[in-house]
Subunit: 345 residues, 3 copies
């Protein structure tokens, strides 16, 4: 097969349940938009004819593929050779195009691409991800099918051990698959595979990042980056700060946080936020909240709904501690503000 633009290829080590269905796949080094020489070297050996497929790999296929890659991709070659010793089932997943998901190995590959920073949030077609990801028991003995769990727990107990069941979910934790460079994650159970963490990100114990969401650069994250949310460089999220996500009330509006923002502890955000904005600790700013806009002299200009302030820079949101009113303070004059608020945007 000859190709000019191929979406992704990855060799994986996975887990199947007793019925032979995939539960999860670990890809040590997935490839995004590999060059055509590499694609052809692999597909020639596999006899692959195109389309999006996850193919079970036999061990006797490994050496021919490794040989074909020795000269052009020695890192892949090494990994593929090491798979000859695998006690787990092997898979090669070939995605000619980025289209809707139809198998578990494909879904895992796309989650890997995000966490390896090969694709940014919203950069992938993730339709079909919920049905293609089985609900799995994540344990210290690996992924276990839920129907096989009770017996495994009883066996472990009889043997004087405990089967540690740390998660019952469709999504595993990211760090058992991918640990990107330049990050700290104080408590890894709170970052799902499929999160995108920019270099310079610290996720503290109270931080959380869902799949298809994340940080673009330096950030101190002590609150919740919900599915679909993007936090830009230099912005911090205080403890228990909440950002409404696409799966939790935000619907079609993608919430993002601009650069250099500070969302205080126990605060919340229901609108996309512009650059250098601050939300006071404890204030939940929903899209429908009525906000008193003040100019650079702290003079009242007018009341608008928070969603009308979406994306505007240099705003400070507080709840006036005496009047109880939500206020937005700016560094702009009343005239500038009026013009901005009534421009079409």
């Amino acid at each position: 097969m000859t190709t000019t633009s191929f979406f992704s290829i990855a060799f994986g080590i996975g887990t199947k349940n007793n019925k032979g269905d995939w539960l999860e796949v670990y890809y040590p080094a997935p490839l995004h938009q590999p060059d055509s020489g590499l694609v052809n070297a692999i597909t020639d050996v596999l006899g692959y004819k195109g389309g999006n497929q996850a193919l079970d790999l036999d061990k006797d296929q490994l050496e021919p593929i490794a040989l074909a890659l020795d000269a052009i991709a020695p890192d892949q070659s090494d990994i593929i050779r090491s798979m000859a010793s695998s006690m787990q089932p092997l898979v090669v997943t070939l995605l000619e195009t980025d289209s809707a998901l139809s198998t578990t190995p494909e879904a895992y590959l796309k989650l890997h691409l995000l966490s390896h920073r090969l694709v940014k949030p919203h950069g992938l077609d993730l339709s079909g991800i919920f049905p293609t990801l089985p609900n799995v028991a994540w344990t210290d003995q690996g992924a276990i099918d839920l129907s096989e769990l009770q017996q495994r727990q009883t066996e472990a107990r009889l043997n004087g051990r405990v089967l540690e069941v740390s998660c019952i979910d469709k999504f595993p934790k990211m760090t058992n698959y991918v640990v990107p460079t330049g990050v700290r994650i104080a408590h890894t159970a709170r970052v799902r595979l499929g999160a995108y963490l920019g270099a310079g990100t610290t996720i503290m114990h109270e931080g959380f990042v869902n799949f298809n969401a994340g940080t673009m650069g330096e950030s101190m994250i002590e609150g919740r980056v919900s599915a679909g949310v993007v936090v830009n460089s230099g912005s911090d999220l205080g403890g228990s700060a909440s950002i409404i996500g696409t799966l939790s009330g935000g619907n079609d509006i993608v919430i993002s946080v601009g650069e250099g923002c500070l969302i205080g502890a126990n605060a919340g955000l229901g609108i996309p936020l512009g650059d250098r904005c601050t939300i006071e600790a404890g204030l939940y700013l929903t899209a429908g909240a009525k906000v008193s806009v003040l100019d650079s002299n702290n003079q009242f200009v007018e009341v608008v709904k928070a969603r009308e302030l979406a994306g505007k820079p240099d705003l400070l949101f507080i709840r006036n501690s005496q009047s109880g009113s939500i206020e937005c303070r700016t560094n702009k004059s009343a005239i500038e503000l009026n013009n901005e608020l009534h421009a079409h945007n």
Copy 2:
């Protein structure tokens, strides 16, 4: 012994400390209100004469009990036979009645009954549970007595390992004992044994469920279901949402959430909530808060304490973003509202 109504029987595999005291018991398949034939088959072999007892099981007692159950309860029979290979101490716990707890195996049995959905929250006599549950180190080598912990850690280190101590508590995590069907629990450390999770429940990473508390059916739980709290079907709890529990300020009032409710992220609840109610994100509704009640035309009717609105359906609670006042909006006329608020309830 002949009995007509027996409360519970269960065969367990447990852990004892160096002094021979029980630290914990795992019951693979506890029985609630077993029929009298089954009870008699077991108690005849054991020579049990009645009362609530936890009896250490010798391995030579297993086969006679299994034989007696082969015809009437083959599942139990299989489990009992498998116990012959146990490296851990075995116990059979017989609770003729549901009364105050006096031993560790009894306490563990009642927590299992809740998590196996055999009894609903508030359906058991749990008095004595704190003194009967020892404070235990939960580790990757199982339950360890706190006085034996330091030596075990040092031994592990000398052997090039780390003794992973994940919890120091009276209550273990539920999923190492019971995983009910039809649930997802993204981070299992936050659901205690004794939680009741209805089918269709998803506990996200920020969710928490204490013992003797839980969900009755479909729910998305991203907040804290405190001890004693019941969330009814179709209700969602936003991230970091707080519900005051019986152990944390709620005292004798049991807080429940009706069906089809939404408690927003970072919100809080200090009263029992009726069906189809909503609490805005970020609003903490304590029982003593003074609430402005508005009718279906958004006209002010009167101010009442939140506790007077306990259990009433179809209410929307918000903090007015301009006046700072807590408001309750309804779909009722002013006259209907007045009648309801001043009825004896």
Copy 3:
């Protein structure tokens, strides 16, 4: 060497990366201000001449040191002898003085001193702690250098296991090093080594304690005790309650909570709090908030910034649920209050 006052000595078992750099050190029984006889017995064998040093220990040094300590410190002697079987590298860390940190073993020793309750928060010179603590992958196979992690994960997968990566951070969890007496910690991932937990402390699942911070005695902690924060005896912190720390906006002001305080669920605190104060659930009290002070008759006295109320006892902070104004209620007359507020403090 003769000494009259020595700061700390400890024998440790640690982990090094492939380059031979320390990743972490576990000290089973660190000594704080050991008496001079003990110091001399150790330093004589080591040929140590003074200063703050972390010395790699050879196994043939162990028995001479143990012998020298048999009569004067048999507990240390036992530990040192047991180290002869160690599969991990050994270290003895000698801190003549409490001064800025320069090596990883020193940093770990100071964190141990805090968690063993040998020194209280703010009682140590911790300057240099961030550069001396490497960012480490904390796994079920122990501490792993980040550059060695991916290969270890792939090897584990090929062998049918998962390398469980629970934390990527400079600070490990406390309980894998130190478990002080008289505490419960429902979810240990949220208490860092270097936390100080007084006897009688319960850290619930939502609780968090950073290093150089903690509780002085009985406390129920369900919120976040940030770096540098001290909570005094008899004070409770509700679920998701936030306290601004020295690393997160509090700057030079050390936030403490007096005795007998209650900080409600989802509340927040940005000032040092005096004894017997209460902050209502859901109220975030920042230092700059304008607060209406009411006297014992609930009569308005004046408006002050919250920081002016720092350290004063017997205050109740609420947000008036009708006016939206933050109020501080006291048990004092208007005249007493006026005098206090206008005294120099």
